[in-house]
Amino acid sequence: MGVLLMGKSGSGKTSMRSIIFANYIARDTRRLGATIDVEHSHVRFLGNLVLNLWDCGGQEVFMENYISSQRDQIFRNVEVLIYVFDVESRDMERDMHYFQSVLESIGQHSPKAKIFCLVHKMDLIPDGQRGQLMLEREADLKRRATTPMAMTVFGTSIWDETLYKAWSAIVHSLIPNVRMLESHLGVFCAEAGADEVILFERTTFLVISHATSHAQTDPHRFEKVSNIIKQFKLSCSKSQAQFQTMEICTPTFSAFIQGFTPNTYAMVVHSDRDIQPGIMIININRARPSFENIERESATAN
């Protein structure tokens, strides 16, 4: 299974890969050099899921190469294509031209691939203009596909949680038994009397799945929590420690974050003051074996 990460030189591909999969903090990505040719890396995800990331250098010479001579090698068996655009690119037309050729190659060699376009470096655009700009870009990008393809467009920035939103969506589309996971999570959420249960991947803290029984107001909360916890994990690692569990109790809600299965963390939020913290921890421990089973089953299925 292949995940292809492409885009023009300097558009931020390696930076975002390093933040999501290698625990870089945003500021440290300045030190990264340009990627030469194809950098191939395996990322183990959810224990048994291996993401093949092809981080393709975006300099023109290489782009030409991909599209002509290396076409077969690179575009075969692609499940997901992530194409990164620099929002401030001076030469939109050329970017689009390459994007279109890539789409053609994908359509030819892996017609079922899902396409994710990330319009990156959104932090350079003033807050008020982002929405309008994204609408325009999305329409433009979707027009470029000549054959029908599943295409999703995100505006991203390494400086805020938008990066996590996009990558959560990408990873979500790659998990094989995600429906089953979701339904089990729903049952757990209802049985435990929780408002919301969120499942995170252990190493990246990307949101895999969630169940909500009480509507929450903040639609961006998943990626925000990912970002918040990840930042804290990084500050823990500075003092040679790893964060294990967290418990927040306030008069209006309580939240518990702890390691769940070997590959996940769970966050359980509830607002029922009659539920004692100890009870919720017992509930989480009780649910653990059944989710470990799902994980094992999907491991053998692969």
Binding site: R27, W159, D195, H214, A215, Q216, T217, D218, R221, K224, V225, I228, I229, Q231, F232, S235, C236, K238, S239, Q240, A241, Q242, F243, Q244, T245, M246, E247, I248, C249, T250, P251, T252, F253, A255, V269, S271
Partner: protein, 390 residues
Amino acid sequence: MLVAGDPKSNVPQHAWMPLSSGQTAKPRLLVMGLRRSGKSSILNVVFNKMSPNETLFLESTSIMSRNDILSFLDFQLWDFPGNLELGDSTVDPGLLFQQCGALVFVIDAQDEYIGALRRLYEVIILAHRLNSTITFEVFIHKIDGLSDEHKIDTQRDIYQRLHDELAESNVHDVHLSFHLTSIYDHSIFEAFSKVIQKLIPQLPTLENLLNMLCSNTNVEKVFLFDTASKIYIATDSSPVDMQSYELCSDMIDVVMDISSIYARTQHAKATPSGYLSLQPPSTNGGSSNGRAQASSNAAVLEAAANGMARDPGLAIVEDDESHATIRLNNGQALYLRQVNQHLVLVSLLRDDSFERQGLIHYNFGCISEALNMVLMPESPATAAPHQLHI
């Protein structure tokens, strides 16, 4: 004109808020420095939660602005434009320095600093003559761009030059301290913590209380933080290492951020007006108004508005029942406890002490109560705090 709040004063209203007699009592912090030395960036990062990389977009400050910090002590921060001349007719140095507790002077360490030193020297001479109790805090700023060796050299050089010059002009007993700071790490918070601690009269009592907690329980290190700015007001007497400070201040971030996500729904129903309604009346409308008017700088205004938007979340955690626990895999744990609207206690302790979690809650409850008594002068401590249990 500064004190009386003369309405006919020729000074523009947005720059100079008239001070009522009550407000003059607040400890005042002046922030000065040459232009482009990073004063506004510092203030925005520390007090308005601006992220460091956003400060690139700040425009240079052209008028003097006053910020009232909605904190437990109501500090006033005066941000001076870098190009302001002290001889300028709009500023009365006498009034300015006489009410000032500390003067923060920012020096850009990445730039040629001889000019800044000359300016600092002038300021010290003038201010010291008018008010000899002022503490001068020199922030050697933007050190993120320097190597470790270079940092020490720069600090030594600045210290030496200033010292020589002051000795030459026969100025002695100036309270002078130096801090190496950068907005990209915790050093700026650490420096402000040290500056502000000097302005708190109850500091010895607070420290005593925290020492009592540490020596009588399993707590290894405890900080009393101002929640909004993450400046620590007091800590116990064991040495502060940067790592545990960072960890504790990051914990406040995590707890606040998660609270602001999940507390909002329920809270919106309870009190729609949110944060401000929970403020004591004295700090309510007046000072937030003051803050908004005090700065015509659009960026500062916007940051202040952002601060407001975050506040409903804060209000939730600000109930004295709120607490949070984080356990680490190295046998350590962090425990956070709300003291009042503005303050939290964050402590480091051994993970195994959580076997008796009830005791931890109880002990921190006692300490919070005692801290509140010390910090609220209008309600004198009538009852002795409860005994700590070990």
